[in-house]
Amino acid sequence: MTTGSELQPSGEGTVEQPPVSGAPAIGVFLLRVIGAVAIPIVAFFLLWVTFDFLRDEDANRLLVVGVAIFVGVAGVFFLYWAMNRAIEMLPERYREGVRPYVFVGPALVILSVFMVYPVINTILISFKDSGGEAFVGLDNFKFVFTDQYMLRAIRNTAGWIILVPLAAVSIGLAFATLADRLGRGESIAKSLIFLPMAISFAGASATWTLIYAFRPEEFGSNIGLLNGIMLGLGQNPVAWLQEKPWNNLLLMVIMVWMQTGFAMVVLSAAIKSIPDEILEAARIDGASELQVFRRIIVPTILPTIVVVTTYMVINALKVFDIVFVIGSPEANGTVVIAERMIDWFFISNHDGRAAAIAVVLFVAIVPVMIWNIRRFREEEAIR
């Protein structure tokens, strides 16, 4: 898409020769161009020296963190400032031609190096061996669709992308509808449902291990909430997270707990935007609350439901943290696709297979990508 040269704004200015109008003019012109090239280079160099300091492992941690934050934040402003100074040095007639590329250049360079190139590269690696060197044809994909853990991961992930959005959107919709009739206390109730959205998957998983905790006999008392309830009911405690295949559902509950708030907030806003006149008219005509919900509310906000569900499906497709933090996915049969990818990449060191698994994820998302672009073009056409 682009090359690194766009980072240096003078790239265009040096290509075209200016009309010659005497020696001093050329001298000034050259000086300006040199200045325009030199300033960003010096800026980069200065930043690089500070980054080297950050690698120093013996340095005081607090100082390193402080310097890191300062350099990271100030550095990006400094780079743009330096590039703008460089433009000012260019001969006037080139300035406005170069400037847009200074504005979009850094973004395009980063996206090319860190997104576009990797996507192409990952697809290539998926046809290569463990070190990513020799081509092995479709072997990795054959592995993806025959390995027993991969097959389980695909089944489990299918469960995640169906059940999590279904549960989260249903509960979110029900809660949004109920809270809408609450009058007072609505915003507090919504906040409390939305709150888990603020914490990390790791934090949420840690939180829920406390609910699922289990200790076998003679290994101490059971302090997990679920087993507390079991004991209270006179039942034997259960090793919840090892109960195949139900432990998968228990992990999904964590994600539902986190994401329901999101569905609820978006759906609630959509419900609020339904004109009151329509709802009142239906009620006057004798529709029951359930009929109002099914025949008016749901059809009206259907587009929003579709969008929220798509978002949840994408999220569930990429679920990794919960399974990874809870641990022992292979032994417990809780493997999922994204977790397999990291496992083959980091633990088994097989880049080819890891890349093939990533490609499977990518292919699953491509339809959404095309849908996005199509929608965008339609919107732009209207604009």
């Binding site: 963190v65 996206l111 190096v113 906040s191 840690a206 909430l225």
Partner: protein, 317 residues
Amino acid sequence: MSATTAPPATEQIPVRGAKEAKGLEPRTGSWFVRIAVLVIVVIWMIPTAGVLITSFRPEALVDTTGWWTALAHPFETSQWTFENYRLALDTGGFASAFLNSLAVAIPATVIPITIAAFAAYAFSWMEFRGRYLMFIAVVGLLVVPLQMALIPILRLYSQGAIVGGYYVFPDLDLNGTFLGVWLAHTAFGLPLAIYLLRNYIGSLPSSIIESARIDGADHFTIFWRLIIPLSVPALAAFAIFQFLWVWNDLLVAYVFLGGSRETRVLTLALQGLVGREGENWHLLTAAAFISMALPLLVFFSLQKYFVRGLTAGAVKG
């Protein structure tokens, strides 16, 4: 996707008033509604409450009785302690993990927003070749799963990229450095940031930009003096979204920064504790709450921006 998840209607949680204002107040508060809402809210609060209560109980009690037993006599002060937090922060290494999280999250928020704001301005108000196609590419990148990028970026960091015997990308040895994580987070956050900010900046009235041009201001000045101040709501919403995303991230930090005690961030430190078969409940719960403290603070103090940022940032690779 995010095109439709970012309507202005989805901006705030507290959506009271609209109906009351019209005096229509539909069938509020039947008992069924109140009880149903209450039940759901209580269920949703239980996990967090369990962690909070456990984190303040002494180890011996945590280990022998369920946290709910503390509710039977909440005012017995002997059953509460701060010791777990002291232990987690100090010997558990969560103080330095907290610092590392800050060192990752603050620049990884500021850098993408700055870069995206410049790009969004150019996409909205500057004429240059390839503008439309470049932006289409950004829209396409919105949903690319970041798993697609991990292997190549890690290779770039550790060996550079060589084409035909020349370094196209130098071997910078960025693995395990803050810069490496910032750049990765910047790249993963950029498509969405550019997309959202362009929507916002592009909808500013063209008259103000034109009149500034007539007054002789160049694009840099217009951007800095005019566009940035006008875009504060959008910038704040995205900043909160990106900050929380980075703060709560486990995968990117795990891949590019690693889990060593020196460099690990909060989520990784927490993962290390859970991994130990959960025999340190007093530490684990305190640590979990330390990792949640900042997000919860943001949530309660900046709720309006928080919700706006999250709903707008619905889709991210």
